[in-house]
């Protein structure tokens, strides 16, 4: 068993014949928060999608080891059961499927994968109550159809609520800050901070530094043209905020 939660080595991926990732190397250890920043079209969301197991993307080179296992060999649902969670940039509306029923099904399939019996009704309800409070999600929303008619902020909060319920080892937040006003951002970020433990890790994909005021990263990586071109600590994010991405682009071309 490795100490790393995830180890990405030389990851190359394409979609519809178009190469997007060109050799990503990234290791996340327990208790760490890694921010992935970068200009539009640099491959940030592709990286999140490839890790979550979206079928449309084809990995052409490299490896991803998740808690000692080959992640790329697993179907999306198996990755989730093993402990990968993707908070979607655009959470999907699923009419008629209640949030609660959906989460109970998910939890039970994850438990089955781990050889555990289905969750007790009372335990499940207590968990719902507790986690709802954590992300300040309206009780009424939890009982409604998945994301149906939710506002942008409610959808993102629902993502964090699901994350709280499923207790993943690795949470990937794909531009969770996009479309959020400052209050919603604070609620989402504080939910994440409360879920952070010594045993789990986070990859926070974001375009803006703003989110990182609330979720303080241990490491910041800049993605450009499908590669990590610069890594640093949280100060790097501030530098990016100040100077924009152009100096990275220039440096890359010069280098």
């Amino acid at each position: 068993m490795s100490d790393n939660i995830i180890q990405i080595k030389n990851l190359h991926a394409q979609i519809d014949g178009k190469q997007i990732l060109n050799g990503i190397n990234l290791t996340v250890k327990p208790g760490e928060v890694h921010a992935i920043m970068g200009p539009n079209g640099s491959g940030k969301s592709t990286l999140a999608s490839v890790l979550a197991g979206r079928d449309e993307y084809e990995v052409t080179e490299g490896s991803v080891t998740f808690k000692g296992k080959d992640l790329l060999d697993m179907d999306a649902e198996v990755r989730a059961r093993e402990g990968v969670f993707l908070a979607f940039q655009y959470p999907v509306e699923i009419p008629g499927v209640s949030n609660i029923n959906f989460l109970k099904t998910a939890i039970n399939e994850i438990r089955e994968h781990k050889g555990l019996p289905p969750i007790e009704a009372r335990e499940f309800l207590n968990m719902v109550k507790e986690k709802q409070k954590l992300v300040e999600l309206d009780v009424a929303l939890a009982n409604r159809s998945v994301n149906e008619g939710f506002s942008g902020g409610e959808k993102k909060r629902n993502e964090i609520f699901q994350m709280a319920m499923l207790e993943p080892s690795l949470a990937i937040l794909d531009e969770t800050d996009s479309g959020l006003d400052i209050d919603a951002l604070r609620v989402v970020a504080s939910g994440v901070n409360r879920l952070k433990t010594e045993n789990n890790g986070f990859i926070v994909v974001t375009h803006y530094q703003r989110l990182l005021d609330y979720i303080v990263p241990d490491f910041v990586h800049v993605l450009y043209k499908g590669k990590i071109v610069k890594s640093g600590t949280k100060e790097l994010a501030l530098e990016l905020e100040e100077k924009g991405y152009d100096w990275i682009k220039t440096a890359e071309i010069a280098g």
């Binding site: 009419p95 959906f102 399939e109």
Partner: protein, 433 residues
């Protein structure tokens, strides 16, 4: 008489018609009613592909071979029937076996204001219910056939302000080892303020040859009458069903109809509703799950004849394998029908590349102050939603099941009778799971 082999059913019917010994034949009024209808049917025969109304529902290939015209009692036990039904202990039970009212297996109860009679006994006494032939379109070949050859059925009357709390559960059972045809008829009359829940449930038991059930229902509702009418079709692969349900709202009445088709090889439902009095309301729901080579065809017609009426329609289908679904929804808004509210929606999910759905909304509006809308969509399972569920650890099969169940629940949840709703839901889950 010569043995008829490989002759189509129309020829066999015409050859047998005189000797059928049908109920009420000795009474002039009834025999005339039958004879006129038989003439119509003889002229038309069964519809084929060229008939616009039955374009996709070609029944002819299914009606080959020799049919048994006997009306002898089939042997069925109470246990056979109990095995098919939800546990509705207190329901008023009507059992029809091969189109014949079976009194021994029925569980009729005495409720003040409610009368339930066999149509055959009614006819034998020389009586013909006033509304028979009034609301069903005699030009439709299947209605003409039923007009000519009905063997039995149910006459159900609710007098003024009669409120029947217990559901009236009518089960139609086809059972036979020879091909046969069941022509049954329902007459329902509801006076002012009457209220009921009527369930029609189609099943097959030990059916090893084609069973062609041709049912005609005529319902008339007076002022403030409320009817919850549920039709459940769950026949085996030998089952062929054609229904014609004709409801006339002749007062400020409310009609709820929910038609759920779970199994059967060929199902054609004609639902015709006439809104004939201001403030009458009709709510139409339908769900069909078709797989294998089966066909489910729902034709609905809502005729807004007068002002201030409301109709609301939602039909949903899940089509798999090589199955075919058909939906044709007509709404007429007559010139006098101002302030009409009429809504229609048809949504379908195709689960395989070979499944097909033919949907056609037809709105004809002659009034100018109305609110009408219709919409139709046919698509596959939403791949984004599927990935979303999978990304939470739910396997693709259960993810699909969750989504399809939710799709179907939209219709099923409109069944107000709780035990029956749960029963329908479990049948649908079993079928789609």
């Amino acid at each position: 008489m010569t043995t008829l082999v490989n002759t189509d059913l129309r020829e066999q019917i015409l050859a047998h018609a005189d000797s059928a010994g049908l109920p009420g034949s000795s009474h002039h009024k009834i025999s005339t009613f039958r004879a006129e209808a038989l003439e119509k049917f003889a002229a038309k025969g069964f519809p084929g592909r060229k008939d616009e109304e039955y374009k996709y529902a070609n029944i002819r290939p299914l009606l080959k071979g020799e049919f048994d015209f006997s009306t002898g009692a089939a042997s069925l036990s109470e246990a056979d029937i109990n095995a098919l039904l939800p546990s509705l202990e207190d329901a008023i039970r009507i059992v029809l076996v091969n189109g014949m009212f079976n009194k021994e297996l029925s569980k009729l109860q005495s409720v003040s204001g409610l009368s339930i009679e066999s149509l055959a006994s009614y006819a034998e006494a020389g009586k013909l219910p006033g509304s028979i032939g009034t609301y069903a379109d005699a030009e439709d070949p299947f209605v003409a056939l039923n007009n000519a050859l009905w063997t039995d059925g149910v006459v159900l009357s609710l007098s003024r302000n009669c409120i029947v709390e217990k559901p009236v559960y009518c089960i139609h059972i086809a059972t036979s080892d020879a091909a046969r045809m069941n022509q049954q008829r329902f007459i329902i009359n509801m006076e002012d303020g009457a209220s009921a829940t009527i369930i029609e449930h189609y099943e097959t038991v030990r059916l090893s040859a084609t069973s062609f059930t041709n049912n005609v229902t005529e319902i008339v509702m007076k002022s403030e009458a409320i009817l919850h009418h549920y039709i459940l079709q769950n026949e085996c692969e030998n089952g062929v069903i054609v229904t014609s349900t004709n409801t006339c709202l002749d007062g400020k009445a409310t009609y709820h109809i929910n038609t759920v088709t779970v199994n059967g090889s060929f199902v054609r439902n004609n639902l015709n509703i006439v809104l004939n009095h201001p403030f009458a309301e009709a709510h139409l729901y339908g769900l069909y799950a078709a797989n294998g080579n089966s066909l489910v065809d729902n034709h609905t017609l809502v005729d807004h004849r007068v002002r201030d009426c409301q109709s609301n329609e939602l039909y949903k289908g899940v089509i798999d394998d090589q199955a075919t679904g058909v939906f044709n929804g007509k709404i007429f808004v007559r010139q006098d029908a101002q302030k009409t509210n009429a809504f229609q929606s048809n949504k379908n999910i195709l689960l395989s590349d070979d499944a097909s759905m033919n949907t056609k909304p037809q709105l004809e509006i002659y009034a100018d102050d109305v609110k009408c809308s219709h919409g139709s969509s046919t698509g596959q399972i939403d791949q984004e939603a599927l990935f979303y569920l999978r990304s939470r650890g739910i396997g693709p099969d259960s993810a699909k099941r969750l989504m399809i169940q939710a799709f179907a629940d939209d219709v099923i949840n409109n069944i107000k009778q709780e035990d029956f709703r749960k029963f329908v839901s479990s049948l649908v889950t079993k079928k789609l799971g």
